[in-house]
C-alpha cells in the first residue's frame, strides 16, 4: 500500500520547513515535496 512519510519540522537548520515523501506500493520514494510553511513579508513591509 502506498504510504506517506512526513518530516515536520525539518530540524537542525535555521529556518522553517516540512517534507512530504510519497512512497509507492514497493516502498520506494516516488516523489518528495519540500514546503516552507513560513512567510513574513519583508519584501513588502520593508519597502521604502
Amino acid at each position: 500500500m502506498s504510504q506517506t512519510i512526513t518530516i515536520d519540522p525539518i530540524t537542525r537548520l535555521e529556518g522553517h520547513g516540512k517534507i512530504e515523501i510519497f512512497l509507492d506500493d514497493q516502498g520506494n520514494a516516488t516523489r518528495a515535496y519540500f514546503q516552507v510553511p513560513e512567510l513574513r513579508g519583508f519584501e513588502k513591509f520593508a519597502e521604502g
Binding site: F22, R31, R40, K44
Partner: protein, 330 residues
Amino acid sequence: MAKPKVGFYWCASCGGCEEAVVDLAEAVLDVVQVVDIVFWPCATDFKRSDVEAMADGEMAACFVNGAIRSSEQLEMAELCRRKSQLLVAFGSCSHTGGVPGLANMFTPEAILAAVYSDGSFSTVNPQNTLPSQHVASPEGQLELPTLDESVKALDQVVPVDYYLPGCPPPVKLIVEAVTAIVQGKLPPRGTVLAPDMAQCRDCPRIDSKPEEAFSKQFVRPHQIQIDPEKCFLAQGLLCLGPATRCGCDHACINGNMPCTGCLGPVSRATDYGAAALSAIASLVASNDAREISAIMDQIPDPAGTFYRYSLPASQLFKRLEPVGNGGQQR
C-alpha cells in the same frame, strides 16, 4: 531528581533569538546541566509529533520566539502552551509583535503579491501561482498553513507567563531567567524579566541629555558624524532610550548607535510607540502647528520608527485600511 524539561520554538522570527541562545557560549553548558532540552527545531531533532506525545504540562518551561501570523504558528503556540507549565515569550516578536508585526500595515494579499507575483523583484512566475492551503499533487494531498489577516504577539493568542524582551534578548537576561526558573525564584506571573526603568536612567551619555525643547531638525545616523560621547538626542538623532526599558547594558548606544526600542516599554507605559513619540515630540522647539508638522515630517518612517517592534501589541494594532485594500491611510 529528573532535570526539568524545557523547549524552544520559533514562529514568525528571523533566527536571531536562536543566535542569542548560542551567544550563551560556555554558559549554555551550565544550562544543559540543569535542564533537559526536549524540543528545539533549530538545534535538535525532536519533531512536532514528539511534543504532541508529551503529557500536558510536561515541560517546565517553553520559550517561544517569533510573532504569530499563520495557522500553523497558532497551533504550535497552543501546543507549546498546553505542554508547558510556564510559557515564556522570548524576544520582541513574541513579546510585542516585533519587526514582522510591521506586516500589519499591509494585507496578506499585498504581501503575497509582493513576494510571489510575476515580475515582483526577482520573481519569475508567469502563471502567478500563489501558495494555497490545499494542493492536490498527483501523489496525494499537500497542505500549507494559511496566513492570518494580521500578525499577533504571543499573548494575543495564548496566556503567557513571562516575557524576555529584546531583539534578541540580552544574554544576561536569558541566564537570569533560566536560573530563576530552575531555582523557582520567579516574580509574579506576567512580569517582563528585565529591569523596570528606562535606558536613560543609567545611560553613559545622560549628562548631555537636553532638558528642554530645543530641536528644529532631526537627522539620521548616516547623515552626520556621530559624537561618541554626547546624548544622541542632543545631536538631533532619534534615540528612543527615554521610552525603552533597559537591560541590554546599552549595547547599541555603546556601539555609537541610538536606541531603536527593542526592549519595549517600561511597565508604566501601555503603548510603546505612543510613549516614544511623546518623548521625541517634547523636544520639538516650536509652538507653531505648521512648523511642528514640518519638523516632524523630517522623520521618514514614523510607523517603522516608533512601532518598529510593537505594532501588533499597540493600541493601533494594524492599519485600519491596509495598503492593498485600495484604502487611504487614516
